[in-house]
Amino acid sequence: MAVIDPANHGLRLATRYAVLVLVAAIFVLPLLFMVMSSLKPTDQLLNDTSSLRAFLPVGDISLQNYYDAFARAPIGLFVFNSILVTVGTVSLSLLLCSLAAFSFTFLKWRGKGLLLSVTLATLIIPFETIAIPLLLLVSKLPWIGLEGFRIGWLNSYHVQIIPWIADALTIFLFVQYFKDLPEELVEAARVAGASWWQVYVRIIMPLSGPVIATGAILKSLKMYNEQYLWPLIVVQQESYRPIMVGLGYFFQLQVAWGEVMAYLSLITVPVLVFYLMLQRAFIASIASTGVKG
């Protein structure tokens, strides 16, 4: 360790980079395959999977699959719906979950321990296993909207948003983060006469940038990427369908894989671009909330 041999050092550096690049290839290649395939006619796409051509923009390259995909399904509408549902759910979730976590962490009240335990226990209920009872429930709930009063939440945006707002993971993230904030801040503010609401708005929230970012990222990924079963059973009108349900439009008996790849790229690339633009924030915020177990 004492003497560094320059040649040896160079070699080690090269090895390190080689390892890093190799691992990177494992992560990138499948996504590269998706994007490259979306530019090829289906026949060629399938033949290319037997060689490195799968990852290269070679052969008959065009945007034809994209034109065909847009002709087959209202992709813009699906993406809009997914984004709307995502933004609606995430913003309400951050507000209500942080409020609850604030109460769980800083306030002392009867029944708190029980409520927190029950809430956290719901972490282990997979959504798929309660989907049917939930469907029966929302189909009976009343709603007052612009069009007046009606029974049943089906065929709407709110049926895709409201049941997803509060979740144990987001509350848990906030609780973990709040625990590490200095309690003296809260006490000092209270002594100075601030209300709990003021403490929440003026003191705690301004300090919570990282956990808000993490919660927003995790929840957005879930809402944008994973909403399939629920909208499938509660939304019958095309005008409310999100992207994952739209995927079904491309699986006819004869699957046009070129168009499938184009659709997958269209719904994935926006998230990837968003991620690449904000990757520092993504990683930094997840890191900062994960520190303390």
């Binding site: 550096l13 890093l20 691992v23 990177a24 992560f27 990138v28 499948p30 395959f33 998706m34 999977t49 409020l99 609850a100 109460s103 306030l107 002392k108 009240w109 009867r110 708190k112 409520l115 029950v118 809430t119 719901t122 972490l123 282990i124 209920i125 997979p126 296993t129 309660i130 989907a131 049917i132 009872p133 939930l134 029966l136 429930l137 409201i162 049941p163 509060a166 979740d167 209270r190 002594v191 709990w196 990427n225 994973e226 399939y228 079963l229 994952m244 499938v260 994935t268 991620y275 690449l276 990757q279 993504f282 990683i283 997840i286 890191a287 900062s288 994960g290 520190v291 303390k292 177990g293």
Partner: protein, 358 residues
């Protein structure tokens, strides 16, 4: 710690927590209780027949087990009949489990697994073999994914924690699959695992100069679950890498200084400096991966539908298959309740094992 009176406030406490808790109670807890109630009835998804309370019958149908010892077939002279390899021949299990008045308790059961014991064959029978396989597969999935994904994530975090020019680019790339939908990932990997001209076969073939015999990764009961495990890890490992990375960065650099001065090698440094500093992170990573792994569904739904030969059946997949596909809500709900109880016990156990000792 004793809290001051300033933090005591029943009205405000309830008021702040109630909106979120009411939503959790309405949209998660209440439906779960419905599911539990269904599991005690013969409720169908949709049916003109009235629903009846059946007690724990659904649970017995799911969990029923039996043990059967089968004597080998003997010829008229009392000698054991053997096949060409000298293995004894046994009567088929179906002769005991189908309409055999001597074994009413085994009616309708099937062989789950069995072994030789002396000349006899011992067979474990299950009332619902598919459920048992789904249970075992799910446990295998969790038992492999939790440590391997956690471990690989740590290795990646250590790789990324090096002070090298451009390291952030690699960090960004390793995290990338996390932001891609698991459904999209599963569709892509079907091409990669394809048995004839899939990418994986071609890449391994090229690396071994054609020595490698192409495999049908998802079509072979021996490799299908492993293939899905590998893909699931690929998709999620970046997330846990970041969590580890944050843990690594909280370890004071001075500790590494000391280790270097003491002459510790790389392994010793990891063992005595890095790992102890990661304890809390490890607990978090393990718990999160375990919870996610128990819920495995989308990969199975897109890639294998539980096949081949039930080698990729999982609990959530079976719950959905029965509840929707076979219109049997009560059957699906029983699985949901059992899954909940299993995960609850495991997380209580994990909490007890990792409790802070004062």
């Amino acid at each position: 710690m004793a809290r001051s009176r300033l933090t005591e406030s029943n009205a405000a406490g309830w008021g702040f927590a109630l909106p979120a808790f009411a939503l959790v109670a309405t949209f998660i807890i209440l439906p779960f209780f419905f599911a539990f109630a269904f599991s005690l009835t013969n409720q169908r998804l949709i049916s003109p027949n009235p629903t009846e309370y059946v007690g724990f019958q659904n649970y017995r149908n799911l969990l029923g087990l039996g043990l059967l010892r089968i004597a080998p077939v003997r010829d008229d002279a009392g000698e054991i009949v053997r096949d060409a390899n000298g293995a004894p021949k046994y009567p088929r299990v179906r002769t005991f489990t189908r309409n055999n008045p001597d074994y009413p308790q085994y009616q309708g059961m099937r062989e789950w697994f069995g072994w030789r014991s002396g000349d006899d064959r011992v067979v474990v029978l299950a009332r619902d073999v598919i459920f048992m396989k789904a249970l075992v597969n799910t446990l295998i999935f969790v038992a492999v994914v939790a440590p391997v994904q956690g471990g690989l994530a740590l290795v990646l975090a250590l790789l990324i924690n090096q002070k090298l020019r451009g390291i952030n680019v690699f960090r960004t790339i390793y995290f990338m699959p996390v932001v891609v939908s698991i459904v999209v990932v599963s569709l892509l990997w079907r091409f990669i695992y394809d048995g004839n001209d899939g990418l994986l076969n071609n890449i391994i073939g090229a690396l071994t100069f054609g020595l490698f015999e192409p495999r049908d990764w998802l079509g072979d009961p021996g490799t299908a679950l492993g293939a899905i495990i590998a893909m699931s890890i690929w998709q999620a490992v970046g997330f846990h890498m970041v969590i580890w990375l944050s843990g690594l960065q909280t370890i004071p650099p001075t500790l590494y200084e000391v280790a270097r001065i003491e002459g510790a090698n790389a392994w010793q440094t990891f063992r005595y400096v890095t790992w102890p500093g990661l304890r809390n992170t490890a607990i978090l990573v393990l718990i999160v991966i375990t919870m996610q792994a128990f819920a495995i569904f989308a990969q199975i739904d897109v890639m294998t539908n539980g096949g081949p030969l039930d080698s990729t059946q999982t609990l959530v997949f079976q719950a959905v298959e029965r509840g929707y596909g076979k219109q049997d809500i009560s059957g699906g709900s029983v699985i949901s309740v059992i899954l909940f109880l299993i995960v609850l016990s495991i997380s209580l156990l994990q909490r007890w094992l990792t409790r802070e000792r004062h």
